[in-house]
């Protein structure tokens, strides 16, 4: 049983990544978008009224949030071509495996965009990041997991509407308030070299959000799939 889950999840994720690798369009758009947003936010800032340091966390997370949204819909839009979703439902893939496979695909997608944007971020804002890199990466990972879990569920619904590219942000953005605000707060503290004790509150909120919403999204996914 667990073996089946692992196998089918891996198969779905692999297939998604292979298809994305072949076409690359969503990935490239997302990446270019991220770089553009970072650059624009940097050049548009008013150096006299607020320090680079204070604006940096917000800029980073605005970039990740919007670049991420560009990539989320592709996971289920793929399954609408040729009614591929029917093929999946006819196979031994359970809703759980399908959800996890899609989440993994989205995580890899967003993860790569983030890993490419991060050095640029460090470069632009000239922030002292090296010693804090592990904890910063941990925070980025945590926030991304929650974001992707909810985003995957919502995009499965939204791809069936006409303006899916607009519907996704409309529905998803309120859900991003807890993880993104936490991430910004944590990022700020990390850059400011604050002790870990000042971060535990936000870390717990982020972890709680992830656990609860990952589980909830997983449980609710079946209701979306079964006609």
């Amino acid at each position: 049983m667990a073996g089946d889950l692992l196998r089918t999840t891996a198969a779905v994720a692999r297939k998604d990544l292979k298809v994305e690798w072949r076409t690359k369009t969503a990935f490239m758009s997302s990446l270019v978008f991220a770089v553009l947003v970072l650059a624009v936010l940097y050049f548009a800032r008013d150096k006299t009224s607020v320090g680079d340091f204070d604006i940096a966390p917000g800029a980073l997370w605005v970039t990740f949030t919007f670049a991420g949204m560009l990539g989320l819909n592709r996971a289920f839009l793929l399954e609408r071509e040729n009614r591929a979703l029917d093929g999946l439902r006819l196979s031994p893939v359970t809703p759980t495996a399908l959800f996890l496979g899609k989440v993994i695909g989205n995580l890899v997608f967003l993860g790569v965009v983030e890993l490419v944007s991060l050095p640029l971020f460090i470069l632009f804002y000239d922030v002292p990041i090296w010693r804090q890199l592990p904890i910063l990466l941990a925070v980025v990972a945590l926030a991304t997991v929650g974001y992707v879990a909810v985003g995957t569920l919502l995009s499965a619904m939204v791809v069936r509407t006409r303006f899916s590219e607009v519907m996704l942000p409309v529905l998803l953005l309120p859900f991003l308030v807890p993880p993104i605000v936490s991430a910004v707060q944590l990022t700020w503290r990390i850059l400011a070299l604050r002790p870990l004790s000042e971060m535990t509150g936000w870390l717990s909120l982020l972890a709680a959000f992830d656990i609860i919403f990952f589980t909830l999204s997983l449980l609710l996914f079946e209701a979306i799939l079964v006609e």
Partner: protein, 227 residues
Amino acid sequence: MAAQEPAVRVRDVSRRFGHRWIVRNVSMEVRPGEAVLLVGGNGAGKTTLLRVIAGLLRANRGTVEHRGSLGMVAHHTMMYDALTARENLEFFARLHGLPSDGRADRLIERLGLAHAAHQRIATFSRGMLQRLAIARSLMHDPDVLLFDEPLTGLDESASRIVLDVIRELKARGAALLIATHQLVELVGETARVGYMVSGRLAALEPIGGRDAGGVVSRYRELLADGG
């Protein structure tokens, strides 16, 4: 062939979309080794019935049971344009946990697609796609096969290949349900015909030696009776 347990048992199944009932009170059985033809006009509910039997749609009323595994060949290929023929089959093999015993290659060969095995299916013609879809549905040796217009858009040679496959499947003991408009080629392969009128199964009876023209007359008869 007499007292064999049916492979598919449909009991008083109804299905609606919105307020419109598309399939009404349909009951039927398909036995192993037999091919049942399902005929009816556009909008008669054939496709919907097949989708309910396949489990892609829940029956709003009634039940569907089938023994063993199920495969389906429909209008949409349910495969990925960016992947090659072989990759698509391998993906489904992985989903089913099938051993890598070269069956994908064998089926590609059997369906006359060996020359295009490593081409992305975006380049395939309708006939090639249909044959690949059949290959895909055979990967896991299903006991039940549902066909929705299997010969549409196929040329002579492709049709012949598909008919051969259908004969083989019957001989192997699979239960086949074939919805079609193209009677000429398929009347020879079936023992029973189901006539659908306005969502109801007006009759399900032995073909009685009728040819394609005979089946059409019988259908018109039932249509005039009001189903």
